[in-house]
């Protein structure tokens, strides 16, 4: 099959970008979307043009490195029958002759580095603000010291599957990083190990989230819709609940 791509090209963070049209021929329906971009890049390289820069690594949907907006939806969710990362979206989801728009995540806290590559360091800084349990290596009690009920363990797990790809921010009309933040809050809030720092953690993480310049959540739900790992939307409510509780708690700062 053949497709027409309209790809965002931007030389670096400070330059202006624009959409550039390319034809990609002999695309196999079994190719992943990124393999199709590889094909385009091989072609551009042979012609002596600069290939399109895009982030990717594991190509099996778990590292969270890849992510572009395809036809207006993060990871091409609008074209995929199931929640997906960009690397697991396959060309059989498109028709022969399709015109496909490809853009980077767009959000103030995710500045474009080049073409489709953005800087998601803000996510790391949110984790640095408190997305952990303070336990030094060697200081752990026996793993069976605390039992965790199945329901809470499962809920913690559902939230912990976040891969930090940033699709939630890319899809959010407010550019809010709330689903990402809420996933970590909920993961640790459900476990006994997360309790001592629970109140402090949420205050610090929210403060960092806001200072990074992410927007606020208005409960629209685009984030959970495009999330490749289906982080439950209700984690955000868990975050809100803990945040309210932290305002009335002496544990917090």
């Amino acid at each position: 099959m053949n497709v027409t791509l309209r790809v965002w090209r931007q030389a670096n963070a400070s330059s202006e970008g624009r959409m550039v049209t390319y034809q990609v021929q002999d695309v196999s329906p079994d190719m992943s979307f990124l393999e199709m971009l590889d094909l385009l890049n091989e072609d551009l390289t042979v012609k002596g043009e600069e290939p399109v820069a895009f982030d990717h690594d594991c190509r099996e949907g778990i590292c969270g490195m890849c992510g572009v907006v395809i036809n207006g939806t993060a990871h091409g969710r609008g074209n995929s029958p199931v929640p997906t990362t960009t690397c697991q979206l396959h060309m059989r989801s498109f028709e022969d002759g399709a015109v496909i728009d490809v853009e980077p995540w767009r959000a103030g806290p995710f500045p474009v580095i080049k073409d489709l590559v953005v800087d998601r360091g803000a996510f790391d800084r949110i984790i640095q603000a408190g997305g952990y349990v303070s336990v030094n290596t060697g200081a752990a009690p026996d793993a069976h010291a605390n039992a965790v009920g199945k329901l809470k363990a499962d809920r913690a797990f559902d939230a912990a599957t976040c891969i930090g790809c940033g699709a939630c921010v890319a899809a959010c009309p407010n550019s809010s990083g709330m689903l990402f933040t809420a996933a970590k809050i909920t993961h640790l809030a459900m476990l006994p190990q997360g309790q001592p720092e629970r109140k402090l953690r949420i205050k610090n993480m929210i403060a960092q989230h806001d200072s990074e310049g992410f927007g606020g959540c208005t409960n629209i739900g685009e984030c959970a819709e495009v999330c490749p790992k289906q982080i439950p939307f209700d984690t955000i409510s868990q975050l809100n609940r803990d945040l309210i509780a932290s305002l009335f708690s002496r544990d917090g700062k």
Partner: protein, 677 residues
């Protein structure tokens, strides 16, 4: 069964094979493991190691390259201890390291199941799984600290699978008879890595670790025989920078991408360890690669990577190919039972579809080589370099299982794997048999290290998959995660102090001749890559190298094939430096340049792998030499000749490497030849 004596013919080959390719040097030994009973060695070593006063630690800098389980855990732990840590990764965030992709689980000798498990049994299973090519002392320690890993991870909030009573669940994994594997659905690697990542970010916030994401290590700085720093390229700006430290730790993972197609992430590469090797670090057992039998097959030439499916699928799926090559393009459901060859059940009636990974892999290749593979035909090159189209896939059929358990029963066990298969291939595995094919998965080889995880360059430590230490010639399932975290959390932080106690060392900066030389060589190399301006893309070279490696240094290796491969690699490498096309400039985000540098190093590594495979005229673990097999076609070890670690010293590109043998001593476990008939 005990070791078979070798034939006169094999003896005759011994003298000439390899003489053209390498030189044998002095034997080496691990000098750090203390004497005494094996269960006391680690405690003894920890007691004997010199300590660094907590107040002095912040004056000492440690560079750690890599943020996976081995690197991230080490960075967090050394940060907690108070050292000044500089941590580097090529990804945009430390959370993306490829440890994240491990599915199955992590072993630990907790004996929570009261099923005769113990430290000694985990030690025994790991040594046996490694086909008796691992160092006993290291493996025993790995088993010893395994229980602490689970405690540590649970305390960090890693959501391991639990039972209704709230306690941790265990399963049996990789063919062992005890239930010692802890898991987190099919995402154990991800959850463990996020645990280490959180601990790491805590130290970044505390200021003990400085994180350099999107930085790739391109050179090791060695001053007066000590590892003192690295040269990196900032992958966003292209800035070439030197970083100095009192010790350097490489935790940069495996080199499976030398095969181009593997289950590794696209960015996984050998550059960091290869650069260290070029600076004098020995490379141990480079030919030991693990090939996993149940991956999703190649769909065509544009395939960029392979995806693994848990081998638990073989518990209920039956593997077959058509008996006749002309049936291969038929709809498998139309092929009558009598026309199917359930070859594993036929050849190995006792183990059937559950034979070990390497046997299942090799037989799948044999079937496809016979022309009985299924699925799309993929372009390949035969031994003469002629293009040919070969179907690379065998069926993994669940029709019986669905008949026995019902569709729901199968879905309950394998639903997520079936969904993954359907998403990637667009086929419904409940209706048509899955197609599988082996893929390179893990590399047991790596930089040589002693009991302290120190390479032969003082101050250079190597942890995780990047070193060669614990898995011998083959790795047991669910042991990779265990090793990475054992090294990072518990081993390195208790051994590196012995070296750092001698620090601080002479202060160095960019003006030091060794540092200036390293920086200049990196710049020169980048310039060289950019100035070739040829006609072929980096990927096309990488793919061709991958073909050569897969064909001659993959599942089955022969003397003739390996020699052919070495010649082909030399030729291709020469062509690469003459005709590669690298677009753009250094001072930019330039992914083509990144890949070009990595592929250049893969050529040199690939050659060394072939030399190592050529010299090891025995079959062991993941290394199968066609010349060394029993009458039944089984792998045959030669413990009398090859009971050693092959540690290679670099002497120059195109020069013969020097082989240093580290003899392996088995004082606590008896050597046995395996049999699966």
């Amino acid at each position: 069964m005990t070791t078979t004596t070798k034939t006169a013919r094999q003896k005759a080959e011994k003298t000439d094979a390899g003489a053209d390719y390498f030189v044998v040097g002095e034997e080496i030994a691990d000098a750090k493991a203390p004497a005494g009973p094996i269960e006391q060695k680690w405690a003894k070593r920890k007691f004997e190691a010199k300590l660094v006063n907590p107040a002095n630690r912040r004056k000492l800098t440690v560079i750690i390259v890599g943020t996976g389980l081995a690197g991230g855990a080490a960075a967090a732990s050394l940060g907690e201890a108070g050292y000044n840590v500089l941590n580097f990764c090529y990804q945009d965030s430390p959370r993306r390291a490829h440890s994240i992709a491990a599915q199955g689980g992590i072993n630990a000798a907790k004996n929570y199941r009261n099923d005769n498990d113990s430290t000694f049994r985990l030690f025994y299973d790991t040594v046996k799984g490694g086909d008796y090519r691992a160092r006993e002392t290291n493996v025993y320690r790995l088993a010893e600290v395994s229980a602490n890993i689970i405690d540590q991870c649970v305390a960090q909030g890693v959501p391991f699978a639990r039972e209704y009573g709230g306690l941790l669940d265990n399963r049996s994994f990789g063919g062992v008879q005890v239930q010692r594997t802890f898991y987190a659905r099919g995402q154990t690697g991800q959850q463990l890595l996020i645990g280490a990542y959180q601990a790491l970010e805590r130290q970044v916030a505390a200021g003990t670790v400085k994180m350099y994401a999107r930085h790739e290590m391109l050179e090791l700085i060695v001053v007066d025989g000590r590892a003192r720093g690295i040269v990196t390229r900032d992958m966003v700006t292209g800035a070439i920078e030197s970083h100095y430290a009192d010790a350097v730790v490489l935790a940069t993972g495996g080199y499976g991408n030398v095969f181009f197609l593997s289950t590794n992430a696209m960015g996984c590469n050998v550059t960091a360890t290869w650069r260290a090797h070029r600076k004098g670090a020995y490379f141990g057992n480079p030919c030991y690669t693990q090939i996993h039998p149940t991956c999703i097959p190649v769909h065509g030439e544009t395939q960029s990577k392979l995806t693994l499916m848990s081998e638990s699928l073989r518990n209920d799926g039956r593997i077959w190919v058509p008996k006749r090559a002309e049936d291969c393009d038929k709809d498998p459901r139309q092929i009558a039972e009598a026309d199917r060859d359930y070859y594993l059940e036929r050849i190995y009636p006792a183990f059937g579809n559950l034979v070990p990974r390497d046997i299942a892999s090799r037989q799948a290749k044999n079937m496809c080589d016979e022309g009985r593979g299924v699925g799309p035909a993929v372009k390949e090159f035969d031994h003469e370099g002629n293009e040919r189209m070969v179907r690379r896939g065998v069926y993994l059929d669940f029709a019986d299982a669905i008949g026995r358990l019902g569709k729901d029963g199968v879905a309950a066990r394998y639903g997520n794997l079936f969904d993954m298969y359907a998403q990637i291939t667009g086929e419904n595995p409940y209706e048509t048999p899955m197609r599988i094919y082996p893929a390179v998965h893990y590399t047991m080889g790596g930089l040589w290290v002693d009991y302290d995880l120190s390479s032969n360059i003082p101050g250079l430590y190597v942890t995780g998959e990047a070193n060669f230490s614990d898995h011998g010639a083959n790795r047991l399932g669910a042991s990779a995660l265990m090793q990475g975290l054992a090294d990072g959390y518990f081993v390195l932080p208790n051994t590196i102090n012995d070296y750092l106690a001698g620090a601080p060392f002479e202060k160095i900066d960019d003006t030091h001749p060794a540092a200036a030389e390293a920086l200049a060589s990196v710049k020169g190399r980048i310039e060289a890559l950019l100035s070739v301006n040829g006609t072929r893309t980096v990927d096309s070279f990488h793919k061709e190298l991958g073909h050569i490696m897969w064909e001659y240094c993959g599942m089955e290796r022969t003397e003739e094939g390996l020699k052919t491969a070495i010649a082909k690699i030399d030729e291709l490498r020469e062509e690469f430096w003459r005709d590669v096309k690298v677009t753009g400039v250094n001072e930019d985000f330039n992914q083509t340049l990144e890949r070009a540098g990595r592929v250049a190093d893969f050529f040199e590594l690939g050659r060394l792998m072939c030399v190592d495979a050529l010299h090891r005229r025995e079959s062991c673990g993941g290394h199968f030499r066609a010349e060394s097999q029993t009458e039944d076609g089984e792998a045959l070890r030669h413990d009398d000749e090859f009971l050693y670690v092959g540690a290679w010293e670099f002497t120059g590109t195109g020069e013969k490497p020097v082989l240093h043998k580290e003899p392996l001593e088995y004082n606590f476990i008896e050597l046995k030849q395996r049999s699966y008939k």
